[in-house]
Symmetry: C2
Subunit: 349 residues, 2 copies
């Protein structure tokens, strides 16, 4: 649990101090209890020196302005997306529990292995840390240059094109030729491909030989296969941690089904996260992200950058009624560590 830092009402927006305090109290309690919040408990908890009756008057106003809603007459109030938004916007940065900080430090001190593995493990860390479902996105390597290409022949017509990029990613592509090629020709094609592609990005056009011999045909084939992947934006990696948590944090089988369905479509998840990143936001609440099936969800994202450029993001997914402060702190901390992890990698041995 993150300790909640006392938030002195700071009316950046159109709410006066008291309304803000009341709204905050409603949000906090509702996040805690999942129940509609009544005027008396607000009057009691928030240290306003006013009676429930006064709070009620204010709540009517807050409801009229769209920050709160009433599930039905004679029930307490529940925050709307707008209410959560206000709350989040006026939230002070949370501080992680020492135990959590330690766990993160520990983790990054010991992770080893390929980028992919690190990202995957990170998603597990994050979900374990928060008990929510986590999403870790790696933004692919459109800017990376080719370090090495190699054509390996499996049999006479079936070859494998293995490409290594400057960011450490490796791709493989089958190259099925309509003609046979012997070992020498494949080796030669491999050599030419290296000469041709090393240092280029996948976006760059390269001059392929137009000759009709086997080697040239192989080279052309390989280049076209390699460049064909571009539009699909392959290289986008998604790692989802703790999808089982969905069943815990969401209520209602229907919601669980929907959310799981979304998580399955990894492309959707990537674009969701990237949309949010593009907006420069760190939290998308309910309808804000425009995905109807996720309208009861909130998503927290934190970018991971390298050399000032965003190369990925970590995220957390939960019901709108989630522990924003704690989770934002966790996401932020992990993304920071990830950033330095990758940033510092080159310097180390």
């Amino acid at each position: 649990m993150a300790r909640r830092v006392k938030t002195p009402s700071q009316p950046k927006s159109n709410l006066d101090a008291r309304k803000a305090t009341i709204l905050e109290a409603v949000v906090v309690e509702h996040i805690d209890t999942a129940q509609p919040v009544g005027s008396s408990s607000v009057a009691h908890n928030a240290d306003l020196a006013v009676s429930p009756a006064t709070v009620r008057t204010e709540m009517v106003a807050l409801e009229r302005e769209g920050y709160l809603a009433q599930p039905h007459t004679s029930a307490g109030r529940v925050p709307t997306d707008k209410g959560y938004r206000y709350f989040v916007d006026h939230l002070e940065a949370g501080v992680l529990e020492p135990a959590q900080q330690r766990q993160i430090k520990e983790f990054f001190a010991h992770v080893r292995g390929e980028v992919e593995d690190v990202l995957e493990q990170t998603s597990l860390l994050l979900s374990q840390l928060t008990s929510y479902t986590s999403v870790v996105v790696g933004s692919g390597h459109s800017r990376a240059t080719v370090l090495s290409v190699q054509l390996v022949n499996l049999d006479a017509r079936h070859h494998l094109l293995v490409t290594v990029f400057s960011d450490g990613t490796v791709t493989k592509h089958s190259v099925l030729a309509s003609f046979e090629a012997n070992h020498v020709e494949v080796t030669e094609a491999s050599r030419q491909l290296n000469a041709l592609l090393i240092g280029t990005t996948l976006e760059a056009k390269v001059q392929v030989p137009s000759r009709g011999d086997t080697v040239a045909k192989l080279v052309r084939e390989a280049v076209s296969v390699l460049h064909a992947e571009m539009p699909t934006m392959e290289g986008e990696q998604v790692y989802i941690g703790g999808s089982a948590k969905v069943a815990d944090v969401f209520e209602g089988v229907e919601t669980v089904r929907k959310v799981l369905g979304i998580l399955e479509q990894e492309l959707l998840v990537v674009s969701l996260v990237e949309d949010i990143l593009d907006k420069g936001v760190t939290v998308a609440i309910g309808s804000e992200h425009g995905f109807e099936p996720l309208s009861s969800c909130a998503v927290i994202v934190a970018p991971v950058s390298l050399d000032g450029e965003t190369i990925g993001a970590v995220g957390l997914l939960g019901p709108t009624r989630m522990k924003y402060q704690e989770l934002m702190a966790a996401a932020e901390a992990v993304s920071k560590h990830l950033t330095t992890h990758f940033g510092g990698e080159n310097d180390r041995g």
Copy 2:
């Protein structure tokens, strides 16, 4: 939906014809309705020319022998794991709906791309076809030989070892050296690694140079990194399709949570599937597979083989109360297609 082939009672086991028919009727109806099944509906549906009272007497016997259970007095009967087992053992092979057959044919006629992609897509196909969660396992490449190795240097101390195996898999491993190496040395190391490793399996011991120069040290480092992966049995691939279906086919949030939790641990899933395969079985019901958290699940598996050797499997996961005949037919069909897909691959262009 698979058409249910009429199963004439064939008492392979200790049940007489009538008991078998009754058991079958109970199982079929319970699978269909999820409700306890009473004597009268059995007497009615199964074309036994006997009265409910007689059926009741038999049901008491079946219960005593452990094939049926009663949720509570004065409720109908429900099959036990043993009951399902009997049912499945005496099930005739189902026939897929033409529409499903077509969909499978269609799919395999059009899939393209790397083995990994095909397996992943297959898992989606299976889950879409059946509306259950599917599991596709590829058994790694312990028997595959090295076709090519290449050491690529990212910077002075940080290299990437890219290995291509005869089964078309490609692995990459970071090699962090404690010393610097220049381009020429890396290239030479690469050449030596090729000479050393091509044609070997990862299980084979190789003679590494014991000299102390940079190249030799690089070679030793690379070989050890490569062989270090062995114990983890990397290369095992798991693709899970339709995990969202879990929320549909299982009832009870708690069960859903448990099952999702299991599915997250891919290693567990692999060993589950391989256990079942080892036993030479195609269905594991309830407690049969020994995983307590999956005690309310049944798993159907069908092996995928190449050159007579099992190289993977497809599976389906659902509640014990699942449509065995249809799902077994689907799993079988897909595994067959997958087998021929990979088997025939070498022959095509």
